[in-house]
Amino acid sequence: MSGPEAAGNVPLIHRRYVFGLLLRLCVNFAGGVGILFVILYFALSRPLPGDFAGVFHALRNLSPFLRPILAVSVLIYALLACGSTSALCVCILHKVAGPLYRMERILDQYRSGAPTRTLSFRSGDQIQPLAQAFNLWIGTLRRDRQRWLATMKDAERHCLQDEATCRAEMDEALRKVAEDMARYH
């Protein structure tokens, strides 16, 4: 995708944003593993009975006893890690999802025929070239529209003269406008 980045010198997704996301994920997963370690540490660090027979029986029966504890601790880890990662996804990815949502609203507005504002994203939002490309397109359309209207208005000025000149100028203006519009395909 060198095109969009090279033309505006603004990358679609900044490297800093990607590194920030990876760093937060790293902290998030490390936190989850840390919590899992703490749970297992407390489950396993209970002192064994003092005498030989007691230790023997405790160790023999330990693995079936630990199975549900292990399952519950892994479940807690999974729930906490999934919850915090989901929150991270919503918070971090809104810098991409937000501009998309905003752009879609502007496009809906444009299609409904309502006056369209210039699109701008918040600072820190990603995919900035999208707003630039949209504004470039709308700007070009508006310039063309003004030129076509100016051509027609110019022809209307000749209507102060005789009818034949007026009609000839208007026909000429229409041909010009039609030719100009031919670039749209």
Binding site: L25, C82, L149, D171, L174
Partner: protein, 184 residues
């Protein structure tokens, strides 16, 4: 003086796009759940082996069960972290690549639109959200093209002549009105 209770501080809007943010969160959840399941299976089978083995060995030079499985647990926890983080990182990079590809195509199509090409589809990509977004852009471009082509054919028909002055004037005004409605 303003009462802060009457003027609450505006918080930033967090847009939630279920197709984009939701699917990413779901993919991360699958990675975490898979990692957790593998960890549980490996550690549980290791515990089934290690504790009976320690019991029959007879030399109990430890105070707790943790002393027996300390290294084993540390390695498995490190493996869980590295495995989940690396897979999550690959997912992040895939998401970024898909975003760059999808939005890049949309940007390309908007730039082509500024040059007059309103008909080539944007082809915005493999992720559902970007595909839908590309279709929205294509629909806007297609509407614009239809409008321009209609005005163009009307202008050509008017310029061809054979219309009474009254009708000509009416259609001329209608044409101007239509042109004004382009990119209002």
């Amino acid at each position: 003086m303003k009462n802060p209770a009457l003027h609450p501080r505006r918080t930033g809007i967090r847009y939630v796009s279920p197709r984009f943010q939701g699917s990413a969160a779901l993919a991360f959840a699958v990675i975490i759940a898979t990692g957790g399941a593998i960890f549980w299976y490996l550690v549980d089978s290791a515990f089934q082996r290690v504790f009976p083995h320690a019991a029959i060995r007879g030399h109990y030079a430890f105070d707790s069960a943790y002393d027996i499985v300390r290294d084993l647990l540390a390695w498995h926890l490190a493996g869980l972290f590295v495995g989940v983080f690396l897979t999550g990182s690959v997912l992040v990079l895939l998401l970024v690549a898909a975003t760059r590809h999808g939005i890049g195509k949309a940007v390309d199509s908007l730039r082509a639109s500024a040059d007059g090409n309103l008909s080539t589809p944007s082809g915005a990509g493999p992720i559902g959200e970007f595909e839908r977004f590309g279709k929205t852009i294509d629909a806007a471009r297609s509407d614009t093209l239809a409008s321009v082509l209609k005005i163009r054919s009307e202008a050509a028909a008017l310029a061809a002549g054979g219309i009474s002055p009254e009708e000509y004037r009416l259609r001329w005004d209608e044409l101007k009105h239509r042109i004004r409605r382009i990119a209002p």
